[in-house]
């Protein structure tokens, strides 16, 4: 129950897809997900320090598991796909056309008044002979005045409200192949483990550096070292003993416990800690 309340009160983050890569752009979204112990990885260049890669800025790249977790928790997560983008463009176009029509009507009223006052000024200043002709023209003007569209002054708004993140950069970053494949059993295994550990309050990042699936932190990675290297495998998958030994040896050297994680079918996740026994 409490969980549901939390879900509804949490702000929804705007996830944008660069091809198939899930990215977060807004600073408040980054804060939101971090407060929910989702870490991700920053990969943008900092404008003030573009020629280094130790400190990075927005956007935040999410792991596939993190993306799926956020999708599951927030029903109304806004995903910027090609379709929504074109729908937004269509909405913007019709808004612009309506604005232009309104502007045209306003301007034609002003133009008519302008014309009339010019004629009236001419009538007062000229002799009575010409006045009749001017009077006729004035009546004529009232009946069939048309304001030409080419004379329309176009207004350009230089400030806008709403989300519009550099579409040209997005086009530039478009990838040719999909990175993630969310449909397979391996991904499901990883995701179930991720969700379970995350639910226990751990912070997880990817553990490519350590030859595992996830690094498991007891708190925020900025404040803690990781305690575990999680390796996700299904219960019946045969693992070479050499692989287990390699992982355990590495884990011992970096003072972390290797964790074999297997989700049982429709049940809890089984965890087995592997540590060196210390017997030389």
């Amino acid at each position: 129950m409490e969980d549901q309340n939390q879900e509804s009160s949490d702000p929804v983050v705007a996830l944008s897809l660069c091809d198939s890569t899930p990215l977060l752009w807004r600073a408040q979204d980054l804060r939101t997900v971090r407060s929910q112990s989702v870490v991700g990885a920053l990969l943008g260049s900092l404008p003030r320090a573009p020629r280094q890669n130790l400190k990075l800025g927005r956007p935040l790249l999410l792991l596939p598991e993190e993306e799926r977790l956020l999708r599951e928790r927030h029903a109304a997560l806004w995903v910027m796909t090609e379709r929504t983008r074109s729908r937004i463009q269509a909405a913007e176009m019709s808004f612009l056309r309506r604005e232009q029509q309104r502007s045209f009507e306003e301007q034609s009223v002003f133009a008519l008044e302008d014309r009339k006052s010019a004629l009236q000024r001419a009538m007062t200043s000229s002799q009575s002979g010409k006045n009749e002709a001017l009077q006729r023209r004035l009546l004529d003007l009232d009946q069939n005045f048309t304001f030409p569209r080419s004379a329309l002054a176009i207004q350009l708004s230089t400030t806008r409200a709403g989300l519009n993140y550099c579409p040209e950069a997005r086009a530039f970053l478009q990838l040719d192949w999909p990175i993630r494949d969310q449909g397979n059993a391996q991904f499901d295994t990883r995701y179930l483990v991720f969700r379970d550990l995350w639910g226990r309050g751990f912070f997880l990042t990817s553990a490519g550096k350590f030859g595992g699936d996830f690094l498991v932190y007891p708190g925020d990675p900025l404040r803690f070292h990781a305690h575990f290297i999680a390796i996700c495998l299904s219960l019946d998958e045969p693992v070479s003993l050499l692989d287990i030994l390699a992982a355990a040896r590495l884990g011992c050297n970096v003072k972390k416990t290797v964790l074999l994680c297997s989700p049982a079918p429709n049940g809890p996740v089984h965890y087995t800690s592997v540590q060196w026994s210390g017997m030389v």
Binding site: P238, L241, L245, T257, L259, L260, T272, V274
Partner: protein, 150 residues
């Protein structure tokens, strides 16, 4: 000893029988996998002769078709399950879970082809690693730098 002698005598005639399999302890076991049996014997010898563990006995897991060892590090210590395996074998997480269900702490002992052994401890659940012992090296390094400056 006599059996070993037997083995050497027969060498000229036919293939010699594996002397390890002739060991009195091994004769009692009936597990088909002879390479695993060989690994189990090496671990048995390591525990009894090198590490001086006590109460080292063989056990079998009929479900997994594996030879296990049960041993105590010291008299009065807890019984531990030891799973001896040749390094080129593979293992599923389910069988590890099965062995943990025996209720004793589990040691996996990998036996390489040159008979070197390594013991890995396997525990159910999440075991937090021990924090690093002693001062951080970083502090010492800074002090040294300071000394050099002086």
């Amino acid at each position: 000893m006599a059996e070993v002698m037997d083995g050497t005598k027969k060498r000229g005639e036919t293939e010699p029988p594996n002397w390890i399999l002739q060991h009195p302890v091994m004769k009692e076991l009936e597990v088909g996998d002879s390479t695993q049996l060989h690994a189990a014997f090496l671990v048995f010898m390591d525990l009894t002769e090198v590490r001086q563990w006590t109460k080292v006995t063989y056990a079998e897991s009929p479900e997994l078709q594996l030879v296990l060892l049960e041993a105590k590090e010291k008299d009065g210590g807890p019984v531990q399950t030891v799973l001896p395996l040749p390094v080129h074998r593979s293992l599923s997480h389910r069988s590890i879970r099965h062995l943990l269900d025996r209720g004793f702490p589990l040691l996996l002992c990998a036996v390489a082809s040159d008979s070197t052994l390594v013991y890995q401890r396997m525990t159910d659940g999440l075991v937090t690693p021990e924090p690093p012992v002693g001062l951080f090296h970083d502090a010492g390094r800074r002090q040294k730098q300071r000394r050099r400056k002086q």
